[in-house]
C-alpha cells in the first residue's frame, strides 16, 4: 500500500498509467473496437486520407489504418510481455542458483549467460529468425533468450549480497529447508532491482519486435504490427504522410510510457538512486 501511495505521487508513474491502461484495454479488446476488417483490401480506395469511414485513412491496399493499428499492437505486446516473463523466470532461477550454490556451478551458469551478450541483440534476433523463421512464437523465444542474461546477472549479484546477510545465515544455521530460505528470505529481498529491470526489458523488447517487423523479419503480412506498418509506409511518405505518422506516434508513445514506468519504479523502489535522475 505504502509503495502504491508513493507511486501515485510520482508524475512519471501517473503519466505512464494514463497511457498504459488504455493500451492494455486495446490489446484485449482491439479487434472488437476496430471499425473495419483490418485485412479487408479495397484497392480502389488505396492511400485515402482521413474520412468518416476510415478515420486514419487507408494503406496501399485500401485497408483501414485505424483498424490495423488497433489489432497491430497485439504482436508487440504478446512478444514483449511473454518474452520478458520468460526472461524474468529463467533469469531468476539461474541467478538464484548461481548466487546461492556458488562455486563451479555458479561460474558455469554465469559464463554460459555471458555468451548471449557477445552479440548485439538485434543481430542475435536476426540470426534466430533466419534459422527458425519469423512469427510471434519465435520472436517471444528470442526475447526470452536475449534478456535472460540481464535478469540472471541482477539476481546473481543480489542473491550473493543477501545470502551473506546475518539473518539468512541464522536461518541456515537453525536448519531451515533450502527452498524455504530461498522463498522467504532471498526472493523478497532481491525483487526490487528485478522489477525495475522488467519495465526496461519490456520497452527494449517492444523496440526489438517492432524493429524486426520494420525490416520485414518479424510479424509476417497480412497480419499487422506497428513496426511492419511503418516499414510498409516508407514508400508512400509523399502520398499519405499520416500513414507513417500514426503508427510511429503510437509506437513511440508506448515505449515512452514503458520507459517512464521504469524510471518511476526506480524512484520508488530504489530511493538511493532517487536523486540521480
Amino acid at each position: 500500500m505504502e509503495i502504491l501511495k508513493r507511486c501515485m505521487k510520482n508524475k512519471k508513474f501517473v503519466f505512464s498509467i494514463f497511457v498504459l491502461v488504455p493500451l492494455i484495454f486495446i490489446v484485449l479488446f482491439g479487434p472488437m473496437l476496430a471499425p473495419n476488417d483490418p485485412l479487408a483490401m479495397n484497392t480502389a480506395n488505396a492511400l485515402a486520407h482521413s474520412s468518416s469511414r476510415y478515420p486514419f485513412g487507408t494503406d496501399e491496399f485500401g485497408r483501414c489504418i485505424l483498424s490495423r493499428l488497433l489489432v497491430g499492437i497485439r504482436p508487440s505486446m504478446t512478444v514483449s510481455l511473454l518474452g520478458t516473463a520468460g526472461a524474468f523466470i529463467s533469469g531468476l532461477i539461474l541467478g538464484i542458483i548461481a548466487g546461492y550454490v556458488g562455486g563451479k556451478v555458479g561460474d558455469v551458469i554465469m559464463r554460459l549467460v555471458d555468451v548471449v551478450l557477445c552479440f548485439p541483440p538485434i543481430l542475435l534476433a536476426m540470426m534466430v529468425v533466419c534459422m527458425w523463421g519469423a512469427g510471434v512464437r519465435n520472436l517471444t523465444v528470442v526475447v526470452a533468450i536475449l534478456y535472460t542474461p540481464h535478469f540472471t546477472r541482477i539476481a546473481y549479484s543480489s542473491t550473493i549480497k543477501v545470502r551473506n546477510m546475518e539473518y539468512v545465515e541464522n536461518e541456515i544455521s537453525v536448519g531451515a529447508n533450502t527452498l524455504r530460505v530461498l522463498s522467504d528470505s532471498i526472493f523478497p529481498n532481491i525483487l526490487s532491482p528485478l522489477v525495475i529491470q522488467i519495465s526496461l526489458t519490456i520497452s527494449n523488447a517492444i523496440l526489438l519486435e517492432s524493429g524486426l517487423s520494420f525490416l520485414g523479419l518479424g510479424v509476417q503480412p497480412p497480419d499487422p504490427s506497428w513496426g511492419q506498418m511503418i516499414g510498409d509506409a516508407r514508400n508512400y511518405l509523399s502520398v499519405n504522410l499520416m500513414y507513417t505518422v500514426w503508427p510511429s506516434f503510437f509506437l513511440s508513445l508506448t515505449i515512452l510510457a514503458t520507459n517512464l514506468m521504469g524510471d518511476a519504479l526506480r524512484d520508488v523502489l530504489d530511493p538511493k538512486l532517487k536523486e540521480s535522475f
Binding site: L123, C130, S276
Partner: protein
C-alpha cells in the same frame, strides 16, 4: 597495466572464438536443409544443382572437418562465396564495412558532442525549467525508435512539409567521397544525426546523474570551502570524475549503436553492412549471412574491448 590490457585482449579472443563457433553452427542447427532453402523451396530443385551446392558449401564433409575448414579459412579472411552475388563474401563485406563504420563513428562523435555538454548543463541547472526541458527531451530521445526519428527528419528536411526556406536534403542513397565530397556529407548528415540523437539521450542522462553524484561528494564541499572559484571546482574536479562512468554507458550502448545502424541504413538506403545483411537474410544467402554476423559481432567485441581498456586507464580501480 600491461597485464590488464593483455587480459582484456585474451577475453576478446575467447569471445571471438565463441562467436565464430556459433555462427558456424548456424547452418547446422537450423531445422530444414539450408541447400534446399537457398535454392528456393517453391519448385522441386534439380538434384544436380543440390549436389553441386552441397559440395561447394562443403556440407558433405564430417562436421569436425567442416568446423576446422571454416575456422582455418576465417582466420585467413576467407568466408566463402556469396551464393546470390557469386563473389567472395569478404569482398562484399570489405566494400561495405567502412561505410557502416563511418556512419557509426560519426554518430558516436556527434552523440558525445551533444550528450556530454547537455548532461553537464542540466545537472548544473538542476530543478530549473531548462533542466526539465532537457530531461524530457532525453526521455523522448531514448523512447523514439531509430526509424521513426529517421522518418521524422525525412519529413521535415527532405519533404520540407513546413516549407522552411531551406534546400531539401537528399533523403536516401550514398555518394562516394571521391566523387563528391559535399554530396557524401549531405547524405551522411541525416542518418548520422538520427543515430546520434538516441545515443546522445542516454549519454546525457548518464552524464547528468553522474555529475549530480560528483557534485554532492564530500570533496566538492572541501574544495569550495577552500575558496576555489566555482568554475574551477566544476571543470577541474567534478567533470573529470563524472565522465568516468559515462565511458561505461557508451560501451553498453555499442550494441544498440550497431543495432541502430541496421535500422538506420534501411531507412536511408545507406549501402552499408547492415543493409547487406538484411538483403542476405531475405535471399537466404547463408554464407553471406554468416559473414555479416561474424564481422559485425567482431566489431562489437573489439569496440567493447577498447572501451574496457579506456575505462581501466581512467579508473585504476577497475583494473
Amino acid at each position: 597495466m600491461t597485464k590488464f590490457i593483455l587480459k582484456r585482449c585474451g577475453i576478446a579472443v575467447i569471445l571471438l572464438l565463441i562467436v565464430s563457433t556459433i555462427v558456424f553452427l548456424l547452418v547446422h542447427i537450423m531445422p530444414g536443409d539450408p541447400v534446399l532453402l537457398m535454392l528456393g523451396t517453391d519448385s522441386s530443385p534439380d538434384p544436380k544443382a543440390v549436389e553441386t551446392l552441397r559440395q561447394e558449401l562443403g556440407l558433405n564433409n564430417p562436421l569436425v572437418v567442416q568446423y576446422k575448414d571454416w575456422m582455418f579459412h576465417a582466420l585467413q579472411g576467407n568466408l566463402g562465396n556469396s551464393y546470390s552475388e557469386k563473389i567472395p563474401v569478404m569482398q562484399s563485406i570489405s566494400s561495405r564495412l567502412p561505410r557502416t563504420l563511418e556512419l557509426a563513428a560519426v554518430s558516436l562523435v556527434l552523440a558525445c558532442l551533444i550528450g556530454l555538454p547537455l548532461g553537464v548543463l542540466s545537472a548544473l541547472r538542476r530543478g530549473k525549467v531548462s533542466d526539465l526541458v532537457m530531461t524530457t527531451g532525453a526521455s523522448l530521445g531514448t523512447s523514439i525508435p531509430v526509424y521513426v526519428l529517421g522518418y521524422l527528419l525525412i519529413i521535415v528536411f527532405s519533404l520540407n512539409v513546413f516549407h522552411w526556406g531551406i534546400q531539401p536534403l537528399p533523403s536516401s542513397g550514398y555518394v562516394d567521397v571521391s566523387k563528391s565530397v559535399a554530396g557524401h556529407f549531405q547524405r551522411l548528415l541525416m542518418p548520422a544525426v538520427t543515430l546520434a540523437l538516441g545515443l546522445a539521450a542516454s549519454i546525457m542522462r548518464m552524464t547528468r546523474s553522474s555529475m549530480l553524484e560528483a557534485l554532492s561528494g564530500e570533496s566538492v564541499r572541501a574544495l569550495r570551502a577552500k575558496g576555489l572559484p566555482e568554475h574551477v571546482v566544476i571543470v577541474r574536479h567534478v567533470i573529470r570524475n563524472a565522465f568516468i562512468p559515462v565511458v561505461t554507458v557508451i560501451g553498453l550502448q555499442m550494441g544498440n549503436l550497431i543495432g541502430g545502424t541496421v535500422l538506420c541504413e534501411t531507412v536511408f538506403n545507406w549501402p552499408g553492412l547492415s543493409t547487406l545483411l538484411v538483403k542476405a537474410i531475405n535471399q537466404r544467402d547463408y554464407p553471406l549471412i554468416q559473414g555479416c554476423i561474424l564481422i559485425m559481432s567482431a566489431v562489437f567485441i573489439l569496440t567493447n574491448m577498447v572501451v574496457d581498456i579506456i575505462y581501466g586507464l581512467l579508473d585504476p580501480r577497475a583494473r
